[in-house]
């Protein structure tokens, strides 16, 4: 192993150790761990969006809708029909994927603009649809959703959720990474770079776009289902167009087409308002807007490009 390889291993080990030790450092400040948990949930959903936009070249302006579908499906199944929690999460993921199919099928055969508008329409009407349904608690939202339970172990404390989410996050990231390195993943990237070339190589462009879109919707559904059992409260307005734009912003700021971008983006998005302080919350919106513009113009790979530059500078 070269010396730079050893060094990289040391850095990665240090990061892993930091991730595992962090909750113990903030043991007395469970609110900070709570924020980190939220950031991880967002990072999961954003990873789906990153797969879609960064690797698939497709845009979704209504990704929060898939989170809402996943969350509500899982929560209603557990609360009203007393379904096993694990199966409910699976159903939430499947429900989100199904909606992805309904929206993706008509719009993906056309240019990217149509997908943008169709997902935007979904994103802005999902809150209204949920509000009109009785089973979802309508305008009051769903309250007292049971806490996530694994076997006999209830995830009530923020610290236990933290470790659980770290595990889920790692699994999701590995699945996405392996998908991207598989034959299908290469096909997806080929479609992004040139549809014409891809189809000349025998890639079924429409099918791969649809697969990517459904995959991204499923990941958002998973994030939504976990969100429901973590926050224990769902309200339709939390999943409106503005939250979809937030998810999109996280993936852009973190760095599209990079595997760690979603984590950086979600951390930045959740932590900046905390750091700035409650009274100045709209200043963070200004900073987010500027960050997006700055990312697109000067740092196409967002914060993760910044990290890579620091790495090369320090020769890690």
């Amino acid at each position: 192993m070269t010396s730079s390889g050893t060094r990289r291993l040391a850095v990665n080990g240090a990061i892993a150790a930091l991730v595992l030790v962090l909750p113990l450092v903030f043991r007395t400040k469970s609110s900070i761990i709570g924020y980190l948990n939220i950031a991880m949930l967002y990072a999961i959903a954003t990873q789906g969006l990153n797969l879609l936009m960064g690797f698939g070249g497709l845009v979704s302006l209504g990704h929060a809708a898939f989170m809402a579908i996943g969350g509500y499906t899982a929560a209603v199944l557990v609360m009203t029909y007393h379904v096993n929690m694990f199966l409910a999460v699976v159903a939430g993921v499947a429900g989100a994927g199904l909606f992805g199919l309904v929206i993706g099928f008509p719009s993906l055969r056309l240019s990217g603009f149509y997908l943008a508008v169709a997902t935007m329409a979904l994103g802005s009407s999902i809150a209204d649809i949920i509000k009109r349904l009785a089973i979802t608690g309508g305008d009051y939202g769903l309250i007292n959703i049971p806490v996530l339970r694994l076997g006999g172990w209830e995830l009530t404390s923020e610290i236990s959720k933290y470790y659980f989410f770290v595990a889920i996050l790692v699994v999701v990231f590995l699945v996405v990474r392996n998908f991207l390195n598989s034959r299908s993943g290469r096909a997806v990237r080929a479609v992004r770079d040139s549809e014409m070339t891809a189809s000349a190589m025998g890639v079924n462009v429409a099918a791969y776009k649809l697969i990517t879109f459904i995959f991204a919707a499923c990941i958002a559904g998973l994030s939504g289902a976990l969100y429901a059992f973590t926050i224990s409260y769902l309200h339709p307005m939390n999943f409106g167009l503005s939250f979809s734009i937030s998810l999109l912003s996280m993936s852009i700021i973190g760095g599209l087409g990079t595997i760690i971008g979603p984590i950086l983006g979600a951390l930045f998005w959740v932590m900046l308002p905390v750091v700035i302080g409650g009274k100045m919350e709209f200043l963070s919106t200004v900073i987010f807007g500027l960050s997006i513009i700055g990312s697109v113009m000067f740092l196409p790979k967002g914060l993760s490009e910044l990290v890579t530059r620091i790495q090369t500078r320090l020769r890690l």
Binding site: F113, S242, I245, S249, G289, V296
Partner: protein
């Protein structure tokens, strides 16, 4: 539904549709020439409307002057956006360009909320007074102004696109940008002109329609979604399509809201899915656009 109610709903729907048409025409104008889907159209107008609000209420500037200044401010924003943001990333994917406009929209929303807080404000209408009664139809005066503005704007855009040299240049760019450059069309300045006109329309539209809502950082959000729906219905890439699509959406929305109030806000999703399945090129589209 009696015929009177139907007439009222339809005509009022036309005035609502005129709102979507005004916003949609600006978006389509920019889209078809510069190939940028401007998600900041609504919020550009929103931010200008805030500035207009303080000019009218605090500085007591006459309304007509404010209207002209708002249009000019929109044009300036458009020029700056094209010159300093779009130009340097034009060669990248349309996704990057969309993301830039999303960032811009977030920036305007954040600035408005940060500088002026999110409290809803009542914006005075351009014309006030009792509603006008035409036969069985009752119409607010500001609604008539919006409808007239949409018609006049459409007329001006039509004359610009089909009767001026710059308009012809813009249309030729939308057909084939490379060929247009080869023929000696100064594409950068046409892009700037189109951005200026499109964003000027954002300022005009927001200022005219804000009295129907209340002035807050999010007031253009839903309007913009419906304008995009109108664009898809009209066939993406034709100003005429956006105008007619907007009017149709407005009328259908009003009728649907009366008959089936439950699906009032989600019906545009239904419209989009149906249009994409049945009529993907829209009402007036010329088939799939090649440049996308």
């Amino acid at each position: 539904m009696s015929i009177d109610i139907f007439l009222n709903l339809t005509v009022r729907g036309l005035t609502t549709g005129a709102i979507y048409a005004l916003v949609g025409m600006g978006i389509v104008l920019i889209l078809q020439t510069t190939n940028v889907m401007n998600f900041a159209q609504g919020d550009t107008g929103m931010f200008i409307t805030y500035l207009a609000f303080f000019m009218i209420t605090t500085a007591k500037v006459p309304y007509s002057l404010v209207l002209i200044l708002a249009i000019a401010a929109g044009a300036v924003v458009g020029l700056l956006v094209e010159r300093f943001m779009m130009r340097s990333v034009r060669s990248r994917s349309h996704l990057s360009l969309i993301m830039l406009t999303l960032g811009l929209s977030l920036l305007f929303q954040g600035l408005a909320a940060f500088l002026f807080n999110t409290e809803p404000r009542l914006f005075p209408p351009l014309v006030s007074g009792d509603p006008i009664k035409i036969g069985p139809v009752i119409l607010g005066r500001q609604d008539i102004v919006v409808l007239l503005a949409a018609i006049v704007t459409f007329g001006i855009l039509y004359l610009f696109l089909y009767r001026t040299k710059q308009g012809a240049a813009a249309r030729s760019i939308s057909q084939d940008e490379y060929a247009a450059r080869v023929l000696g069309i100064p594409t950068p300045s046409i892009y700037m002109l189109i951005w200026a006109i499109g964003s000027a329309m954002a300022g005009l539209a927001a200022l005219l329609i804000v009295p129907r809502f209340s002035l807050e950082p999010s007031f253009m959000g839903l309007v913009q979604v419906k304008a995009f729906t109108a664009i898809v219905l009209g066939g993406m890439g034709s100003v005429f399509g956006a105008a007619v699509g907007g009017l149709i959406i407005g009328v259908v929305e009003n009728l649907v809201a009366y008959q089936f109030p439950a699906i009032k806000d989600s019906f545009m999703l239904i419209v989009i899915v149906i249009v994409l399945l049945v009529l993907p090129q829209g009402l007036f589209g010329k088939g799939q656009q090649r440049r996308l």
